[in-house]
């Protein structure tokens, strides 16, 4: 059963909410960013040699490590010609005092499912090329996301690190008969690079990429995922509160602009996108 996380909605939060709103009215933020400016992004790939693909992405001081392990297995019976991938996410207790050891709680599950939605609906992977013997043998990609350091907004860097790990992931090659071709490797066939932008809302004002100080004091927030043609591929309102209907259009426009900037950065470092 889901329950309200233990976050204070005390006077302190209300004062902070008020402060953020007043700053937004002047086009400012508590950490000196402008409303539509995400924090500094760095992307490193191949950071874990034992993984088939890996990436460490930081957005400000939020840091996400994604690793991909590949196994062989049977496809789903309704998709005999397609490889399989699954996304898992863990909010590590070393990343924040609000994360606890143990199996993923609802926030971990939510993060994994939002990343999965972006990758799957954004048609990021050409799954048919991950089929070795139709109906019998396909690649199975386990995309595992770990939040290493949490300073707000783990969604956007997680999607980005999953995509960076995928784009640099290598697979051992097999013949059409299912024989291992010794010494031969291939890349994961990437079709598109969906990315996401998290938008915070206070009254009639919006901001992008909330840091943790802002996150706890927003009215609400929403994650928008888009592919390279600016189609909306995933939406997930991820906290309680109201979004005025008339704001929705500009939220999508702002997300598009942010994702465009992130994509340019991604392309520069990873080489695809």
């Amino acid at each position: 059963m889901s329950f309200i996380p233990l976050k204070e909605r005390s006077f302190a939060v209300r004062i902070m909410n008020d402060k953020i709103y007043k700053l937004l009215q002047q086009g400012k933020r508590i950490d000196e960013r402008s409303p539509y400016e995400f924090r500094k992004i760095t992307i490193q790939t191949n950071v874990v040699e034992k993984a088939n693909g890996s990436a460490l992405v930081s957005m400000g001081s939020t840091r996400i490590l994604t690793g991909i392990k590949v196994e062989l297995g049977t496809p789903y019976s309704d998709r005999p010609n397609e490889g399989v991938f699954s996304v898992n996410a863990e909010l590590l207790p070393l990343a924040s005092k609000s994360f606890e050891p143990g199996p993923p709680d609802e926030r971990g599950i939510e993060l994994a499912r939002v990343v999965d939605r972006c990758v799957r609906e954004g048609k990021a992977i050409d799954l048919e090329k991950l089929c070795i013997v139709p109906g019998k043998m396909v690649y199975i990609l386990y995309i595992d996301i770990y939040v290493l350091d949490y300073d707000g907004n783990y969604f956007d860097p997680s999607v980005m690190s999953a995509m960076a790990a995928l784009a640099t992931c290598t697979l051992p090659r097999y013949s059409a008969a299912g024989e291992r071709l010794e010494g031969e490797y291939m890349r994961v066939p990437i079709r598109d690079v969906p990315l996401s932008a998290t938008i915070g809302i206070i009254k009639d004002k919006v901001l992008v990429d909330p840091c943790s100080a802002e996150e706890g004091s927003l009215d609400t927030s929403i994650v928008i995922g888009m592919d390279s043609a600016s189609n909306v591929v995933a939406i997930h309102k991820n906290s309680p509160g109201h979004i005025p209907l008339h704001l929705m259009e500009s939220i999508i426009d702002i997300a598009e602009e942010q994702i465009g900037k992130m994509r340019a950065l991604f392309r520069e470092v990873v080489g695809v996108g």
């Binding site: 059963m1 329950f3 233990l6 909605r9 609802e106 189609n231 109201h242 598009e256």
Partner: protein, 244 residues
């Protein structure tokens, strides 16, 4: 998605598989106070989608350390029966059910005056008896009514519906087949009086323009559902007045 035989979901005349037009809701049935023991309950049926919701509370929070000094905690469990789907659903909570419990709870939190009941808990249970698309939105519609039925003070009701893209068209209230073979599914929960979004998700691909159309269509469907909700509540009080 193309390799399994994909049924044609909309015919030349713009009719859907069940004969509906693109902007039609399935037959809707809403009732409140349908369960005896709960403090409030509701039943929502939308075509073959059948959902119960029950509310217990406000009551003492358990375990105690979870209680909050300034407001009630709201617990929410969205759950599907094992036989509600085509293939038997395994017992216990799936990851999907955990996610949906969270988004539904957060939608409800937006409208309940939790600050009226410090240190207590309100439990909301949603049970999907049969799933034919739109279960989270039917669940949210039912849960908001069950809260009202329990007499818990709320800013307003929530009505919810799914819209989506099927065979290239934006349609209202997706059935299971349309969700499975269609291009996009977008559940929307709106608080109609303040005209604000309290739940919004999207699974699938839409252009910005299609998104805009979808959101407008959802608002239209939600108005109808909202009226049916008000009607169901009114009916309950009318019948209890008559008994008195």
């Amino acid at each position: 998605m193309e390799q399994t035989a994909r049924p044609k979901l909309i015919d030349e005349n713009g009719r859907r598989l069940d004969g509906r037009g693109p902007t039609d809701l399935r037959p809707l049935r809403i009732e409140v106070s349908v369960l005896e023991k709960s403090d409030g309950s509701a039943y929502v049926e939308l075509g073959k989608t059948k959902v119960f919701a029950a509310v217990y509370g406000p009551k003492e929070a358990h375990p105690k350390h979870l209680s909050l000094p300034d407001r009630a905690i709201l617990n929410c469990r969205y759950h599907m029966t094992s036989f509600s789907t085509d293939e038997r659903k395994t017992l216990g909570m799936t990851r999907r059910e955990v996610e949906l419990s969270k988004v539904i709870r957060e939608a409800l939190e937006s409208v309940v005056f939790l600050e009226e009941f410090p240190r207590s808990a309100i439990d909301v249970f949603i049970e999907v008896v049969q799933a034919d698309g739109g279960t989270r939105t039917a669940g949210l519609t039912a849960a908001s009514l069950a809260l009202a039925d329990a007499g818990i003070p709320m800013r307003e009701l929530i009505a919810a519906v799914a819209v989506g893209k099927v065979d290239g068209r934006i349609v209202l209230d997706l059935s299971d087949v349309e969700d499975k073979y269609g291009e996009a599914d977008m559940p929307v929960g709106i608080a109609p009086r303040s005209n604000t979004i309290v739940l919004l998700q999207l699974n699938g691909k839409m252009t910005k323009d299609e998104f805009r159309q979808g959101l407008m269509l959802a608002q239209m469907g939600i108005q109808k559902i909202y009226q049916a909700q008000c009607e169901a509540l009114r009916k309950k009080y009318e019948s209890s007045m008559r008994e008195a």
